[in-house]
Symmetry: C2
Subunit: 212 residues, 2 copies
């Protein structure tokens, strides 16, 4: 970890505070105190409070995009693909679900970003778009591609891969939202997550007859 400049520290602390209480409820004085300077000094680094918020958003978005790029590479590299086309075992699917869940629930930046977007999503179109991209469209698109590959390879039953992605991902999303509000329920929720994943696997694996 490099030592942060004051400008970077402002973004770090502001991100934490905005995620906890929302933009309007955080004063510039609070941010300054968290950084360890006086409020007027903030204005040497950023023009105003809004510009601090924009910097937080930009930083978080950059991290998200980098992360997604890394995940997509994982999903496409030869070793991972090989494992997928070997057949999708129940344990692999359980592990995939738990990993996804664990990252979103415990990565500090991911948590702060999610809380911030949750609180501020109705403030303007840009924030609404970011929320939907990150927590709906991107996961559904990405996982839809995975399921499409698995169908093509004959590993899982035929069906609409987009809908499969919805049915696989939406429970993860709902359970995540529970844990964001009630961290003490994590164990119970992770148990449900695992049951969901196993049941999902049983429903969609080849050999489970479809009759419609």
């Amino acid at each position: 970890m490099m030592k942060q400049t004051t400008k970077e520290k402002i973004v770090t602390e502001a991100a934490r505070l905005f995620a906890q209480k929302g933009y309007g409820a955080v004063s510039v004085d609070e941010i300054a105190k968290a950084v360890g300077i006086k409020a007027p000094s903030l204005y040497k680094h950023y023009k105003n409070k809004q510009e601090i918020f924009d910097a937080v958003l930009t930083e978080m978005n950059t991290r998200y995009e980098k992360n997604m790029a890394a995940v997509q590479m994982d999903g496409r590299n030869s070793r991972a693909d090989a494992a997928l086309f070997d057949g999708l075992s129940e344990e692999q699917l359980v592990s995939l679900g738990k990993k996804l869940f664990d990252f979103f629930l415990h990565d500090d930046y991911a948590v702060n970003f999610r809380k911030l977007l949750t609180i501020e999503q109705f403030q303007d179109n840009e924030l609404a778009a970011m929320y939907t991209k990150q927590y709906a469209d991107d996961p559904l698109t990405y996982q839809g591609m995975l399921f499409a590959l698995l169908i093509q390879a004959g590993v899982i039953r035929d069906g609409d891969p987009q809908i499969m992605a919805l049915q696989f991902y939406a429970p993860i999303y709902l359970l995540l939202s529970i844990c964001d509000r009630h961290p003490e329920r994590e164990m119970e929720v992770v148990k449900m997550l695992e049951q969901h994943t196993r049941q999902f696997h049983a429903l969609y694996q080849i050999g489970a007859e479809k009759n419609d």
Copy 2:
């Protein structure tokens, strides 16, 4: 519609404003303007701003509880039960999903309450508990009971009814959150909802072999 007293109108307008912008971002002056009086007059009806917020919450919660009581009665009355045990047709399930979705998306009070709780859910434990009860625990419990009945009656395949409820409801919840931010996507989203419901029905109806 009865004509509202000033005290009632304050709650109505405050509910709308708090849901749009959150508690902190709404000034008592705005509430007063929406009601058509001056700010100081508000204090003849409520002790302070927080008390207005509490009144909004109480009113919304009362409406929710009444609504749920009504729905549960529906789910338990003899005609509805008879229809369920006759067998759960694909069209019935599609209709159930769409009705649930439509109510949550277009009922003014339901929308305002959901937005309010979404924005303020991290402010205190009471709000977090209300959110989780309404949008996670209550739907999962209620639908879990329905699926348990359907399994008992041999209408659908054996399995954990709680997990079935999660897999049926979570996609509805996710799609709803998309429409809250992007009303213009309603058509596309309702289409996905219908596809989800049909695929869910196909997966769980009797005759779809389970092999695990």
